[in-house]
Amino acid sequence: MSRAWSLAGALIAAWGLMAAMVVVATPARAESWEAIPVNPSVDIDYARPDAPGLLPVYEAVQKRRILEELQHFLAPLHLPHRLLLRTAQCDQINAFYNPGNRSLTLCYELVADAVKKAPETVSSDGFITREAAIFGEVVGVLLHEGGHMMFDMLDVPVFGREEDAADQNASFLALQFNKDVARTITKGFVYFSSQRSDPSGSMSAFADEHGTHSQRMYNSLCLGYGGDPQTFQEFIDRGWLPKERAQYCGEEFAQLKLAFVKTILPFIDRPLIQRVQQAEWLTPDELK
């Protein structure tokens, strides 16, 4: 599997996951994504980057028709407004949803950065592969931004910081697919979070609207464990999530699930989401 194809798979899976819902589908034969109808409210745009170094990423995502596929993956979501999905040069490592024009942008720089900073083959503890790191980082970011999009589009009431809510949304959606996908996304997110420094020192170091990297990592692991203790037990066994936090994770997940069911599930076409859930978005390489 080439790097470009691997990235494409990650991006595709992100949207498949974002459209995933609470109820695990009944077993059925997987179908091609082309058989799933397009979401008629979603437009796409591949913006050509000015920086020559980003052209390979631009060409890879375009050749793979990622955004076209995403239109299919979003099919189950009833959007009250049009949504523009775009890939673009942003001159920063980022992805963002803009409620002003209802566009969600994945920056080429973010994809390139994930590729650059992922472990060469596997993390030092042998737990997280290169593929999982890249996959988890890109998908985690897309699920997070997809949360912002749904909060805006679906008028979801949010108490507390929206950035925390978007993280929780991402963790919850990641758990709706099979165990391997959920574990892979989490591994990647955990890897990059653990590589980044937390703030320290002055009060103002904690003034940001986001949680610290470690907080976001522990929150993600807690929801994973709370939603699927068996699959995520290994994260506790390996010391990634302290047992003191783990004992409350079931309640945290139940609370999140209730919020999701009340606010987002009414906008989901359930027969369509079951088809999306059954499609094979990832290759075995990407699930390592």
Partner: protein
């Protein structure tokens, strides 16, 4: 103002230095909670809480950063919207008017308003 500032001061006075697995706690660092409280207050009533606005100079209470302050009006609107959607349906509007008009604190319980600058 007394409630907001009192709560924020409580967070400010803690001397817990967060490191490592401290961040695994289900509660946020006191410094984060400090800014969350103040941001919602400033976003909801920038005139009353103008002493929190970012600007140089000494202050009795740490001010909001410029980065955070510009986001506070939206943070307040979002919480207000959520409250209106999910909680206000269970609230008696007539009684709310009475509650808001009541004097809940004694004069000696009402503290100074920030640095007053």
């Amino acid at each position: 103002v007394t409630t907001i500032i009192g709560t924020a001061k409580f967070f400010e006075m803690t001397n817990h230095t967060w490191t490592g697995t401290d961040f695994a706690s289900e509660t946020s660092p006191e410094a984060q909670r400090f800014y969350n409280y103040l941001c919602v207050a400033y976003g909801g009533d920038p005139l009353t809480f103008r002493f929190l606005a970012p600007r140089p100079g000494p202050s009795a209470l740490p001010r909001l950063t410029a980065h955070r302050a510009q986001r506070c009006p939206r943070e307040f609107s979002q919480v207000q919207h959520a409250f209106d959607l999910r909680i206000m349906p269970f609230v008696d509007p007539d009684l709310v008017v009475k509650v808001r008009a009541s004097q809940w604190l004694r004069p000696d319980e009402i503290g100074s308003q920030g640095d007053g600058k």
